[in-house]
């Protein structure tokens, strides 16, 4: 009946008349070999060995896993070294107590509280940013101006190619769609009005804001999140410098300045994109330009600029905010970058809708 010590690991159970279960283990236990599968029933279990050969931590781990829910798990018949390996895991379970898995209601409550505190943190960050601006205006904020000029370059000048491409394509698409409709009523000349007005009032600012969220917000969230991980923001606080003033203000300022300029650029490129389509078919360049200039009023131009200032602020703020509250891990930085883009784009669209209502009220 006894097993050779060189055999595969085995375990079998039998239940005695007095209700005791006996588990017999034996063979060679190795991390690379499949372990035996048994179901142990009963509150009182005695483990014995039979032909037990060499073993590594797979055997104490197996015993640890099978014995943890059994009231009396008697290992006294096992070799002393094996007993001590299993007991080490039991004894070492000290200090930090675990969290019980919360119920559905508790999970819902936790979600509610966390959402509330997330909004509270967002408003707190807006408050800190506003105070920082006020302190900067009176010359009391410690702002990293080297970052400001760097961000003018990276968030502004470096974004020109992608803004040009997307602006051109937006104008081109609008002209195509517009021409199809306007041809039906013989009013193709108004495609210039459509493209130029839409680009000036709406699409120039919106497209640039979305691009800023995609490339600038995510970059800010990653930068500030990484600084959080490496405790650089803590180091700033320890030096008496507010991270919002030192890190966020120059970034927000730079992007709020550059996005309107990029939006104006996108508007011109978009109008040019529309012209390429319009002049390829129905209109001459003179007709198109004359109509476009007539359509764009100073008010429309102002509407576009106001929107783009707001969108630039939102994009930069979303990145700085999500970065500053990022969890201190690689995953946390990734999440911060993603959520910065999502938050930025969502707020920009919401703000655009609000602008539409407000400008309508004021007849702008």
């Amino acid at each position: 009946m006894s097993q050779p010590p060189s055999g595969s690991p085995f375990a079998r159970t039998e239940v005695r008349a007095d209700g005791h279960a006996v588990v017999t283990i034996g063979g060679v236990w190795n991390l690379d070999d499949p372990l035996p599968s048994v179901v142990i029933r009963g509150d009182r279990v005695r483990v014995v060995s039979e032909g037990l050969g060499d073993f590594d931590s797979s055997l104490p781990a197996w015993l640890h896993a099978h014995g943890k829910n059994i009231r009396e798990f008697d290992l006294s018949a096992l070799p002393p070294r094996l007993q001590s390996l299993v007991r080490m895991a039991e004894k070492a379970a000290y200090q930090e107590t675990g969290d019980e898995k919360p119920g559905l209601l508790e999970q819902f409550g936790t979600w509610g509280v966390e959402s509330g505190s997330s909004w509270a943190r967002a408003f707190e960050h807006i408050g800190h940013t506003s105070l920082g601006f006020a302190r900067m205006l009176i010359g009391r904020a410690k702002v990293n101006w080297a970052d400001f000029s760097l961000q003018l370059q990276t968030a502004g000048v470096d974004a020109l190619p992608i803004v040009a491409l997307l602006g051109f394509l937006t104008g081109l698409i609008m002209a195509y769609v517009g021409l199809i409709q306007l041809r039906q009523v013989g009013a193709t000349v108004y495609v210039a009005n459509l493209v130029s007005l839409a680009m000036t009032r709406e699409m120039g600012a919106l497209m640039t804001g979305v691009i800023a969220c995609g490339r600038t917000s995510t970059a800010f969230a990653s930068q500030l999140g990484s600084m959080n991980v490496s405790q650089e923001t803590d180091a700033l606080r320890a030096l008496g410098i507010q991270p919002v003033e030192y890190l966020a203000l120059p970034r927000i300022l730079a992007v709020t300045l550059m996005v309107p300029l990029l939006a104006v650029f996108a508007t011109f490129v978009g109008v040019f994109g529309g012209m390429v389509v319009a002049c390829a078919g129905d209109l001459s360049i003179e007709q198109y330009l004359t109509q476009a200039v007539r359509a764009i009023s100073f008010k429309s131009f102002l509407v576009g600029v106001i929107k783009s200032v707001a969108f630039g602020f939102i994009a930069a703020w979303a990145g700085c905010y999500r970065g500053s509250v990022a969890k201190r891990s690689a995953l946390g930085v990734g999440e911060a970058a993603t959520s910065a883009a999502v938050l930025g784009i969502t707020l920009i669209v919401v703000a655009d809708a609000l602008f539409a209502v407000i400008f309508n009220l004021f007849n702008l």
Partner: protein
């Protein structure tokens, strides 16, 4: 000098950063199941020596053998096999921040073992229970204390039942109680699994408690200043610098 049964040994070893040699003429051997502490002033090359012994960095001269194999000249499969049978705890624990403690321990098991997921889970839970983290398995590294992170790092180093583990300043940044518990854990693991331990430390009381052998690196001579049982360094007749380093640290 080297015995085939030695777990770690080196002969005329030179180590450094880039091409710059910071320590040379290092020769010693560590038998199985023993604990070796590497000590010396800051910046003398303790961690660099440990990395060279563990096969993470190539030596600049001489040879270092781990489990009887010179990792600098071994082919890749042999090297991988030896590295699999050794474990590392880095100074900051170096836990994967996006994984829970359990997933951190399971990761090397998933890569190297052919067991089903259930058995890997059992093993990981056992290893975490061994280091007293049975109740913190589903926490992320960012949610635990420095001492817990060190213990989780040891559990990960022990994941594949290594024959030797390298611990880089395991007690650094811990309070005396946590540091004492970590020493106990190292001794218990050595006793239970027969694991050989190489550790870098500045904590003289901890070294006296745990280490069987100690190597003192002397930055002035650029080589080892002494090698032997750490308690012997406290006695008279030792090189004055070594004696002073140990007794001064003890007084401090």
């Amino acid at each position: 000098m080297s015995d085939p049964t030695d777990i770690v040994s080196c002969a005329d070893l030179a180590i450094g950063h880039g091409r710059k040699v910071i320590m040379d003429r290092l020769s010693f051997a560590l038998p199985a199941g023993r604990i070796l502490a590497i000590v010396g002033p800051s910046g003398c090359g303790k961690s660099t020596l440990m990395r060279a012994l563990g096969g993470l960095d190539a030596p600049l001269g001489g040879s270092a053998r781990l489990l009887g194999v010179d990792l600098a000249t071994a082919d890749e499969p042999a090297r991988q096999e030896i590295l699999r049978r050794s474990g590392f705890l880095f100074q900051g624990a170096a836990l994967f921040s996006s994984l829970t403690l359990r997933e951190n321990i399971e990761m090397p098991m998933r890569e190297f073992l052919r067991c089903p997921a259930k058995e890997i889970r059992q093993l990981a839970e056992y290893k975490l229970a061994l280091v007293g983290l049975a109740d913190a398995m589903d926490k992320l590294p960012s949610e635990i204390s420095g001492g817990m992170a060190k213990r989780a790092g040891i559990a990960r180093a022990m994941a594949l039942d290594p024959r030797v583990i390298f611990l880089d300043e395991p007690s650094a940044g811990l309070d005396p109680m946590s540091s004492g518990r970590l020493d106990e854990l190292i001794l218990r693991l050595r006793e239970a699994f027969g694991t050989t331990v190489v550790l870098v430390s500045h904590e003289i009381p901890s070294i006296l408690r745990t280490a069987d052998f100690c190597i003192y690196l002397d930055p002035e001579t650029g080589t080892m200043g002494a090698y032997g049982p750490p308690k012997s360094f406290l006695q008279a007749g030792q090189p004055p610098k070594v004696h002073a380093f140990f007794t001064q640290a003890r007084i401090d």
